[in-house]
């Protein structure tokens, strides 16, 4: 018998009904923080490419501005802004939690939901701004 198997009841209840298992809001905030972070690592390449074009010359600046007439470009920039806003809000929540606040079940769930609401609001504002 391995050490890890000692003192463990063999007949433990197993709950694997995937229809009833739900991620709590805190878990959703956590996984989306990771997803948005990885997305932005690649999105940053697009932003740096745009920065290069916007600063190289007056002509290339006009070229970057003309890019924004394209729906796909607007959509990608809006997506980047949404990921950025979400990651920033989730990060601020992390910093508050570092001080010992919002660590209880109730406050943790409430702050997670607040991050979602604020991120959606920011995403809508960003969408209006881009279009």
């Amino acid at each position: 018998m391995e050490l890890s198997e000692q003192n463990v009841k063999k007949q433990r209840p197993v709950h694997l009904d995937l229809q009833t298992i739900r991620f709590p809001a805190t878990a959703k905030v956590s996984i989306l923080h990771r997803v948005s972070g990885v997305i932005m690592l690649f999105a940053m390449g697009i932003l740096i490419w745009l920065l290069h074009g916007s600063l190289a010359s007056a002509e290339s600046f006009q070229g970057v501005q003309a890019l924004f007439d394209n729906f796909l470009v607007k959509f990608v920039v809006w997506g980047i802004l949404t990921a950025l806003g979400y990651h920033l809000l989730g990060g601020i929540r992390h910093l508050v939690m570092d001080t010992g606040r919002w660590e209880e079940l109730g406050s943790g769930n409430a702050s997670a939901k607040a991050v979602f609401v604020l991120a959606i609001a920011f995403s809508i504002v960003a969408g209006i701004w881009v279009w």
Binding site: V38, L41, M44, G45, L51, L55, A56, A58, Q62
Partner: protein, 115 residues
């Protein structure tokens, strides 16, 4: 103490602090730049070029890209060590992510240098 050759800091505590310190710089730069673009609409080349020709803005930009390198390094290490159990694949992905972040820094130096 658990050490890992692929992590950025000397220890978990070091990573913890560096992740947050770099996050603060990234947040400040993001809020500043998005506010600047939003408030100076319609943005012209003269205004945009003028902003980046100032030395403090060049330093702020490069500081942010260094923070991005640190932040992305630690963040991708956390994600990869959780989900990618194959050591060879994880090593290749970590290498790709870190090289990408280094390339951003190199590109940023060249971009603001010429302004």
């Amino acid at each position: 103490m658990v050490t890992n050759a692929a992590s950025f800091g000397r220890s978990g505590v070091h990573d913890f602090i560096l992740l947050r310190a770099s996050a603060v710089i990234l947040a400040c730069y993001t809020i500043f730049l998005v506010s600047f673009i939003a408030l100076s609409a319609p943005l012209t080349y003269e205004i945009w070029h003028g902003l980046f020709s100032a030395l403090p803005m060049k330093v702020f930009t490069l500081l942010t890209l260094i923070a991005l390198l640190i932040h992305a390094w630690i963040g991708s290490w956390q994600v990869l060590t959780d989900y990618v159990k194959n050591t060879a694949l994880r090593g290749v992905l970590q290498f790709t992510f870190v090289v990408t972040a280094f390339a951003y820094l190199a590109a940023g130096i060249v971009i603001v240098w010429g302004v």
